[in-house]
């Protein structure tokens, strides 16, 4: 047996020393993880800065504002009918639903009400945009967890709904169809039959997603008990929509608010979940798509005859006053506080968008979770960047 050479001895000592150094360094070291603004899991340009201790988040802070377009300022130099073209772009997946509360607020100030047929068609289009919006969420949910198939189903079936919206309004993404006093146009021929077929397809899509995702063991273990938001915290952060109902608050503005819309003419259920975790939020949304298809089906049967536009002046001047109207949009409560000074355009519009409040809870809910759960919690809170930044 040969003796170790000098070189070998030295390298042995160096290795020992390196090991010792590593052991020291491993003991404490925090790390800052930057997610975004261009991370695919953030649905746009939201940036999350998370301070980690090992695999656990110590604190996290969302950084919004990469897409701020200043709509509140822009509305001040527009006339009332022009504003709908802007607010279409707030939640771009459910555009028609953005227009409705603003138009209702303007109508409230003017003291006009849309004819029953227009109210009915508004409600149908509102629910169609909810289905288009939330069905994409259901497909996207799989992608966030590494399952690619559901998103193809979602894009396939959302296309049918977008075709319907296009047939009725002329625009797939930005309908700009709602008018003060009614709607731009009546429904096209064949719309009712076509919608009925599509609603059947959408219910089948919900069943597919339920068996593909919600029954999946990996999905359940990644979402159950993760990101729990208790009722009181949800309320004090102003969470709304499915995020609030998943925390056990049975509150739906479609049912509990008296608006000139047709939701109360259909028989449907408000779903809640007691758990408040990521699974609950996703599950409540799945049920809401099903309920929406039911609402649309029932309203199609009972569309009243008559005009879709009431008599309004050619040049719309809104009387002086203040009005607040909010509706249950796909993402949650969306409302407009409209201040008019009797001019052609609004004096001030405060846009209360759902995602802004829904995302403000992120620093609270991400504290103490593990890194992979950041993505599932963000996905289950469900936000649209245009809805945060406005």
């Amino acid at each position: 047996m040969t003796m170790l050479g000098d070189r070998q001895q030295l390298s042995y000592i160096a290795a020992q020393a390196a090991d010792a150094r590593v052991n020291v360094e491993l003991e404490t070291e925090g790390m800052t993880l930057n997610i975004g603004p261009q991370h695919p899991a953030t649905h746009g340009t939201l940036r999350i800065v998370a301070r980690l201790d090992g695999e656990q988040v110590v604190w996290a802070e969302p950084v919004a504002g990469y897409m701020h377009r200043g709509y509140e300022k822009l509305t001040e130099v527009r006339t009332f009918p022009q504003v709908t073209a802007l607010i279409n772009r707030i939640d771009w997946l459910g555009s028609f639903a953005n227009e409705v509360p603003f138009i209702l607020a303007a109508e409230k100030l003017m003291g006009v009400e849309a004819p029953p047929r227009a109210q009915h068609i508004r409600t149908i289009l509102f629910e169609l945009s909810r289905i288009a919006n939330v069905s994409l969420f259901l497909g996207d949910l799989g992608v966030q967890l590494g399952a690619v198939t559901p998103v193809f189903f979602a894009f396939r079936d959302r296309e049918y709904v977008l075709n319907l919206i296009e047939a009725a309004t002329g625009g797939r993404f930005h309908p700009n169809f709602d008018r003060i006093g009614g709607l731009k146009d009546d429904l096209p021929a064949g719309f009712i039959d076509e919608t009925r077929t599509v609603m059947v397809k959408l219910r089948r899509f919900c069943d597919e997603i339920e068996s593909l995702l919600f029954g999946n063991e990996i999905f359940q273990s990644r979402t159950r008990g993760v990101g729990v938001i208790p009722r009181d915290v949800a309320l004090s952060y102003g969470l709304s929509g499915a995020n609030l109902r998943a925390s056990g608050v049975e509150w739906d503005l479609r049912r509990d608010q008296d608006l000139p819309m047709a939701w109360n003419k259909a028989d449907w259920k408000v779903w809640t979940h007691p758990d408040g975790d990521s699974f609950a939020r996703c599950w409540v949304r799945l049920q809401e798509v099903r309920e929406s298809t039911k609402i649309v089906d029932q309203l199609l049967d009972t569309i009243p005859a008559g005009p879709v536009m009431t008599k309004v002046p050619k040049i719309i001047k809104v009387p002086e006053g203040e009005a607040w109207v909010s509706t249950e949009n796909p993402l949650g409560e969306m409302g407009y506080y409209v201040v008019s000074k009797g001019d052609l355009g609004p004096f001030r519009v405060k846009i209360r968008s759902a995602s802004f409040n829904n995302i403000s809870i992120v620093p609270w809910v991400l504290r103490g979770v593990y890194v992979p759960d950041i993505i599932t919690i963000l996905a289950s809170l469900y936000f649209i960047l245009g809805d945060i930044d406005r």
Binding site: G70, G238, P313, G345
Partner: protein, 217 residues
């Protein structure tokens, strides 16, 4: 009990739910209330003293208004730039610059307003307060955690600061941005660098002289 001076309760439209809610709120707030307004079937507005802003919110929370809807501000000064549709070659337009506040009155140019709702009952109240000369209002982010971001947004957009807010960083604008974009005297630059292309449309349309009241039939 505070006299409900400007409360309109007309004979034909009554709103017992909101009337009761308003009486409850003004009763609990006492001297802090400056003015209030009830529109039957619509909404409740209560204006309170700025020093009592935080206690007002705490009182509302204890009365069951547990859902934080939004917080923002209004600049009541009319814009010196109008709608940004002036022709730059014409002499400057004379504008009525008197400040008129909206519902529930007011004394200052800026007002902070917020809305709280009783969850499940959908009875809401919009509270307002005049912003004093110091441009500072007590923060409510310790009472309603959701107000944190809304106060940050209001701070950068209006330059109103909130006493006791943990971190009034800008949300949207760069840190070195100067000015407060939602103030009425902040010009909308897009309308300043290039004349508004719709100027021709401002010419009176045929039949507009009857102040636009002719019906589209």
């Amino acid at each position: 009990m505070f006299p409900l001076s400007s409360t309109e309760t007309t004979a034909e439209v009554r709103d017992d739910v909101r009337a009761a809610a308003l009486a409850e709120v003004t009763g609990a707030l006492g001297d802090a209330v400056r003015d209030s307004l009830l529109k039957p079937g619509d909404d409740i507005w209560v204006r309170v003293d700025a020093t009592a802003w935080r206690t007002t919110v705490e009182t509302l929370k204890s009365l069951g208004y547990g859902y934080f809807c939004f917080l923002s501000a209004i600049d009541w000064m009319p814009s010196p730039y109008g709608k940004g549709e002036d022709d730059p070659t014409e002499p400057a337009v004379e504008r009525d610059m008197t400040i008129r506040q909206g519902y529930a009155g007011g004394e200052s140019r800026f007002q902070v307003f917020a809305r709280f709702v009783k969850p499940c009952e959908t009875v809401g109240v919009t509270i307002k307060t005049d912003v004093p000369e110091s441009m500072s209002v007590p923060s409510i982010s310790a009472v309603f955690a959701g107000a944190n971001w809304h106060e940050r947004e209001t701070h950068e957009m209006f330059g109103i600061s909130f006493d006791g807010h943990p971190d009034l960083r800008n949300m949207y604008l760069p840190t070195d941005f100067e000015g407060h974009p939602l103030r009425k005297d902040f010009p909308l630059l897009a309308r300043m660098v290039k004349p508004w292309p719709g100027i021709v449309d401002v010419e009176p349309l045929p039949g507009e002289d009857s102040n636009g009241e002719d019906d589209a039939s």
